[in-house]
Symmetry: C2
Amino acid sequence: MNKMDKITIIEPKSIETRSFEIITEILGDRVFPQEQQGIIKRVIHTSADFDYADNLVFGNDAVKAAMKAFQKGCTVYTDTRMAYSGINQTNLAKFNSQKECYIDHPEVAEEAKKRGVTRATVSMEKAAKDEGHKIFAIGNAPTALIALYEMVKEGTLKPDLIIGVPVGFVNVVESKELLMELDVPYIVAKGRKGGSNVAAAIVNAIMLEGLKQA
Amino acid sequence: MNKMDKITIIEPKSIETRSFEIITEILGDRVFPQEQQGIIKRVIHTSADFDYADNLVFGNDAVKAAMKAFQKGCTVYTDTRMAYSGINQTNLAKFNSQKECYIDHPEVAEEAKKRGVTRATVSMEKAAKDEGHKIFAIGNAPTALIALYEMVKEGTLKPDLIIGVPVGFVNVVESKELLMELDVPYIVAKGRKGGSNVAAAIVNAIMLEGLKQA
């Protein structure tokens, strides 16, 4: 047998469709709220990790709030260049929206060093000063989430949605618990898992839901 | 109790150190070959997924071959902008090396459309035509891995290392099995898991090992 015979011949565009069929098959008779379904499946698609079927928590009408932000036009702020790169530019443009990441901004690096805090913290503070509707997609830095928590508590930030999916071992679980206490729309991956890929997948899934409804 | 009391106060630079200590604690008495240890732990660090302690397979003196490529200076080719963004530019420069991603190159898109193949396939063919030492870091597209497999079989490509960690449900497992049959250095995440974040983490871990030895 030719080694290549194991490969399924499939049109590029059909790969994603078939992938989602397989994910749906594996999920079996699990039922998710209609507006969350596409997001949960896309996160599994991006990670091949079915833990996300249990980990993802949606608070304060998160999906509806995000849709509204996109309908009005918003900026999606990320804490890493990876998450930034993963967010679909073509679909953002359809919503007159944009993405922004201040983590490697020279002023941010300088101020973080001076204050002995992370660049992620300062990048969130910088984002909060911008005008307009804001979605935060945090896949890496718990300190970014903590900065957002503090600004919301102080009343200096009113985000349309916070996606809190940092990954890791120090302050990650705790920062997600803080976020879930806030009275703002949030999507959280409970526990240690998450990542820039997961953060980007959630943003992309929300936009796809919005385009389906439009 | 103040909600913030749950947060561990820790210097930004110590977060990574503490994370690796926790990973080492959780891995307990598991022993890995010396040169693989840093890579396995960094992938767990980037995913919080301990499956990678079992999934990662190193073939044909992969780490040694990659070190040699970095010592000579090489180009790391990725199949996504996310993996590209995740690879540490500062450390690449220390090895007189660079990163490249042709996935969004206009010629690549055009040729893919004409031939009815993925952009990932064409981007790998384009990379193969470049001069110099080559490391491929594939975190997304099985078709990229399949293209690399075919070029190695034909004798038109001699990579220094192929990192084969695409994630997903269609042809992912099969493309990794093809790669593991080749007589070239490879690092593979067996099964469906992987991702652009994992691909970048492996490249970054190899560079850090190289810098430690230098």
